[in-house]
Subunit: 343 residues, 2 copies
Amino acid sequence: MAPRTTRVVCLVRRPDGEPVPADFAVEERPLPPLGEGQLLVRNLYMSVDPSMRGRLESTEKHYTHNFTPGSPLDGRALGVVKESRCASMPPGTYVRHQLGWREWAVLDAADTDGAGRIDPRSAPLSTWLGLLGQTGFTAYVGLTRIAELRPGDTVFVSAAAGAVGTAAGQFARLLGAERVVGTAGGPDKCALLVKEFGYDAAADYRAEPVREALARLAPDGLDVYFDNVGGEQLAAALHALRTGGRVALCGMMSQFGGERRSADINQLIQAVLKRLTLRGFIVRDHEDLRPEFERRVAGWLGEGRITARETVVDGLDNAAGALLSLLGGGNVGKMLVRLSDPG
Amino acid sequence: MAPRTTRVVCLVRRPDGEPVPADFAVEERPLPPLGEGQLLVRNLYMSVDPSMRGRLESTEKHYTHNFTPGSPLDGRALGVVKESRCASMPPGTYVRHQLGWREWAVLDAADTDGAGRIDPRSAPLSTWLGLLGQTGFTAYVGLTRIAELRPGDTVFVSAAAGAVGTAAGQFARLLGAERVVGTAGGPDKCALLVKEFGYDAAADYRAEPVREALARLAPDGLDVYFDNVGGEQLAAALHALRTGGRVALCGMMSQFGGERRSADINQLIQAVLKRLTLRGFIVRDHEDLRPEFERRVAGWLGEGRITARETVVDGLDNAAGALLSLLGGGNVGKMLVRLSDPG
């Protein structure tokens, strides 16, 4: 018997500064009856992403809608079809979609992706939201198409212990980088970067100016910078890049929180002096690369050449806390919430 | 009879803040005897460039050497060969070279460029340092190769009344831009931009926040920004650019002078949201485009489709003053010093 309601995480109010638990609440909401072409999906995992932070603000961004106080959050999730009015996606099909932050979802079959590609035996299910999902795809697109990584390059990744960063470091190595260095918050994460994620060296950005760290870790300079944070780390990278260097701009976590006033935009004079290219990107523009990406990364996973490290939190009641933990740097690798036992 | 000495402009000391006249002095220096393969050149015109500003500082940049207190300045110049120990460049040949800021120069024939290409009857001689020289070439390379200008684009140029800016506006129009807007200092320059230099509209950056000006002048957004100044104008352009927009980073005059602390580097979040590309460039990397550039621009000049507006100052004694005037925004179009009557 299909449920008539689902529990959802709602935004109670916009954060006043840093988000706090009281900005969120779990509520019960009705599930509409299935229309033609629709699916009822039991969510198994949902993704917790740094990009959620910007969507809590009132300023509208360009690449997706912002959250509305009083309404449910949404985000990428993976579930299994329980009822279907779409012949090509019968019950039992695994789908990825955008209606996370809830236990059950009713959605148009056309709004799912990955159906038929997600084989729960080929890789651990959660991987399809991590290394084989948007996270890994972001790292892959950023390195290959945006930064045009070439064999022999020296690569720097910021927020290297995060979901995208742990993927980017490992991919860069397998794509032929000569040297891969990263920054993270705290000595434990830095140790993990070298031990588990293929980094040659790592620096704690809280303990040392990143410009000095880069002079030490990459004394011959950088060819590629995969930027997840902006701010002072971006400025430091501009100084460390070699002539013809390339920057993939993936996001700017430092625009939130304490570092409101960071480096000056005129640090870009380095881009003139050294003929640098900086490119912002949003992964959904690059779907044409997805088959190549899935083939290569699934291969690396199958051969045990990469590590799919995840931080998994259990239950919708802990989802908002998982987001706050992520924004505070509490995760290593991909942050996921398990919403139901896949078994 | 060849002269044994030449007058030169020397740097007396590095400027303490803004350069002042006492930082420079005209001195008499010996001219060495001609060695094999060398030329004695009577300089006719020399170029005064915004990039001189950075070379007065002690911090070494990457693309050329800095000036040394007690030594002559140098820079692009055009002259006529008076004595020659190079058979292919007899007396009477017009040459461009790097030994400006002096009336006579002894230099290696191999260190000249344009020999044989500069036909003093094809275009006014001074044009070979302006629209047909590095200035025009910078505008051409920036628009075509770096910003990848496409027919129908809306283009914004800062420092639009300057040497590169007056070239860029006119070239953009002839290269197919749908709309060309610019900023300059003061209402007189803005009026000239529209009246003489092919701009559809111009705004005085001193009188109005550039972000507001762009919303008014280009309400549908920008495709290309040709950046000569950096700082707040670059930040404003990032906001005004449309998805997929392109920025050619040509120089950052606002890094000097009052605007030491300008916009924040995290304004580059716009580059992520809108998939912008920013590229720094230095024109000497793009010599392969020079024949195409000279052919097209000489054609436009010959057909009267572009205006070669120059600010010409007479005599080496006024050269330092010309530089100070340029840095203070006193010029429209190319700033030149005439060192000798070409006649």
